[in-house]
């Protein structure tokens, strides 16, 4: 058996159960909720998301590429028109901006997928379809000797269903 999953109808009892599990230091806790709730972020003390790094790097790569392409092309066929510079940075800013947004957005999505670990082939272990509807859930991955403690905590805190999963 890999762990225990508990289904909770109420938010506050879920938070209390997480606090108790954290206090007892048993297993790895994953919380499921139909909608993002900052109460879980507070109690889990999760580190800030690193998606922003992907966004920044993507945007920098994009803006560099967006400027580089037209500048390189202008230098590739250098033709002076009206005494103006070969590479005109003002109109190229439009290309730089659009490519920055494009690559930055796609990098953000990539960062989200990598950090959230999706796409995922299966979501059956420790998951219950009620978690996308109206119930909250706690999945605790723990050692076999901790299973009973976890089961007791989840029951005591108000889980409407507690079951083992592997």
């Amino acid at each position: 058996m890999r762990g225990i999953v508990g289904v909770f109808p109420e938010l506050d009892s879920t938070v209390e159960a997480i606090e108790e599990l954290k206090k007892l230091r048993v297993g790895d806790v994953t919380v499921y909720s139909p909608t993002p709730r900052h109460e879980f972020d507070d109690v889990l003390k999760a580190p800030p998301s690193t998606v922003r790094r992907y966004t920044l790097i993507g945007a920098l790569v994009g803006v560099t590429f967006g400027y580089w392409i037209p500048i390189w092309i202008s230098d590739y066929w250098p033709r002076v028109v009206g005494g103006k510079p070969i590479a005109s940075w003002v109109p190229y800013t439009i290309i730089g901006f659009e490519v920055m947004v494009l690559i930055g957005s796609l990098a953000t999505v990539a960062g989200f997928f990598i950090n959230a670990r999706i796409p995922r082939i299966t979501q059956t272990v420790g998951y219950d379809p009620r978690f996308s509807d109206g119930s909250f859930g706690i999945w605790v991955e723990c050692r076999p000797d901790e299973l009973e403690t976890v089961r007791r905590v989840l029951k005591e805190k108000g889980a409407e269903e507690v079951r083992g999963d592997r």
């Binding site: 909608t35 109460e39 998301s49 005109s88 494009l102 960062g111 995922r120 978690f131 509807d133 109206g134």
Partner: protein, 483 residues
């Protein structure tokens, strides 16, 4: 008299994604949200009839297009000096429609405007389909549409690249970026709702499809944490993007030395006009949806009231831009500009200019009345006038300018043909077809985000209060006031 005590803001308070300024007094639980929104996916005869009509309109447009390919672009009424007509008018019209979706989903998200929560999915889908429709028009405008890939910026076999100083190349970059980012934004927001569909679906094949599309989403704390950040950054990217795209579209005109076009007011004028027209289309779509899908308690009169205020504001900006154009023509002292603007309101197409001014500048002033802002029949009727007025705005910008340039010997007439009108009808058929398919396959409201505005079930609390002590109790306003 003692001063009323002001509530002190709690520094510990951390916002959820939306701050629920616009409450849903008749929505009580997460399950209710899931049930009622998924109920809208049931196929009805009326939906089939609507889809059949949309496909019929599309077929009319497609037939006209094939006829045009066979006969040549001349059948579309193009002859010098007017070589941009209904196709470019309709291209700008649809790009403009697309702007409200991003405004509502991204900009209002960053501003934490609560009224966006129940209408943004519709607006986002509208954006994607409107940009898909707009993207057809440069191709329809080609004499040899099978060479459309020449528009894409890549080098030819002589290693000659397109001219990156041309606004038409900027357009390609802007529109393709906008379509990609809008579609990505729509899809990322849909992932949690696709998981709801996957978990509720009983048909094995559909369950499998929703399972693949939801990417194995499980609603875990890790997924939500990164989802909210990614969504925020996508919104932050989309916000300047929406401003840039219609600015770039306006450069197609403003960079040309044509009376009525060569003006620095065009970028803000086009952006505000685009948002105005998009909000008009949102009303056209959302008012029937809330009625036919029985979602009046989600899109309440408060939501419509707030959106109507935005509509009024953008109308005032557009009106100011119209008047500024006339002022600058007079103040600038250019005889060509002055002649053009006189021709605009008293010349051959005077009626188009007055339709534009009436529908976009005068009629929306009625929205100063709160009673009318909360009257759905009025809002729907007004939205039709706004759509009409904004199409004619682009007509007024394009046709009179090209037909009445500097030298009188270059002046010439223009009249749209039945091919133009058929393709215009076809574009509405194309847009409606995609939208109708969308509303019966995917949730038209963001289930997960609406749930954030609904108080969760609590075990201990007697009143429905959030754990951080802030009331999220609905019902501080009576349901009958907003439905």
């Amino acid at each position: 008299m003692a001063a009323a005590a002001m509530p002190t803001p709690d520094p510990e308070r951390r916002d959820n994604i939306p701050t629920a300024d616009v409450q849903l007094p008749a929505v009580y639980s997460y399950t209710q949200v899931t049930d009622e929104i998924l109920d809208t996916l049931k196929i009805t005869k009326a939906w089939f009839a609507g889809l059949a009509f949309a496909v019929l309109c599309l077929a009319v447009g497609a037939a006209a297009w094939f006829y045009q390919i066979y006969m040549g672009l001349g059948v579309a009424g193009y002859h010098p000096p007017v070589m941009w007509g209904v196709y470019i008018i309709t291209f700008v019209f649809w790009v403009g429609i697309g702007h409200a979706g991003t405004l509502i989903s991204a900009i209002l998200y960053l501003f934490r405007a609560g009224f966006r929560t129940t209408i943004y999915r519709c607006a986002e889908a509208m954006t994607v389909f409107a940009v898909m429709t707009a993207g057809l028009f440069p191709i329809l405008h080609l004499g040899r549409p099978w060479k459309f890939f020449w528009l894409i910026p890549y080098p030819n076999w002589r290693l000659l690249w397109p001219q990156f100083k041309s606004p038409l190349v900027w357009d390609v970059f802007a529109i393709l970026t906008y379509l990609t980012v809008s579609a990505t934004f729509l899809f990322i927001g849909l992932i949690p709702d696709l998981a709801v569909l996957r978990d509720r679906e009983t048909n094995p094949l559909r369950k499998q499809i929703y399972g693949v599309l939801s990417l194995g989403w499980r609603n875990s704390d890790r997924e939500w944490r990164h989802f909210t950040r990614a969504y925020l950054f996508l919104a932050a990217f989309s916000t300047p993007l929406v401003l840039s795209v219609h600015s770039v579209v306006s450069f197609d005109f403003a960079m040309a030395d044509v009376p009525g076009w060569h003006t620095t007011i065009f970028p803000p004028y086009f952006v505000s006009g685009a948002i105005f027209s998009g909000i008009g289309m949102v009303f056209t779509i959302i008012i029937p949806i809330r009625r036919w899908f029985k979602l009046k308690h989600y899109v309440t009169l408060n939501h419509l009231d707030a959106a109507a205020k935005l509509c009024l504001f953008t109308s005032l900006v557009v009106g100011c831009a119209y008047l500024t154009e006339f002022f600058i023509a007079w103040y600038g002292g250019s005889e060509n500009e002055q002649a053009y603007f006189m021709n605009r309101v008293f010349g051959q197409w005077w009626w188009a200019a007055w339709i534009m001014l009436t529908c976009n500048m005068v009629l929306p002033l009625l929205l100063f009345s709160q009673k009318l802002r909360r009257n759905t029949t009025f809002l729907f009727t007004l939205s039709i006038f706004i759509n009409l007025g904004m199409w004619y705005e682009r007509f007024v910008i394009i046709v009179p300018s090209l037909s009445h340039e500097f030298d009188p010997w270059r002046w010439g007439p223009y009249a749209p043909t039945h091919i133009d009108w058929a393709i215009l009808v076809g574009s509405f058929g194309w847009f409606s077809m995609w939208f109708l398919l969308f509303v019966k396959q995917l949730p038209i409201m963001a289930i997960a985000e609406i749930k954030e505005t609904v108080p969760p079930r609590m075990r201990h609390a007697t009143s429905r209060r959030n754990l951080d002590g802030h009331s999220e109790t609905p019902g501080t306003i009576a349901a009958n006031e907003v439905l």
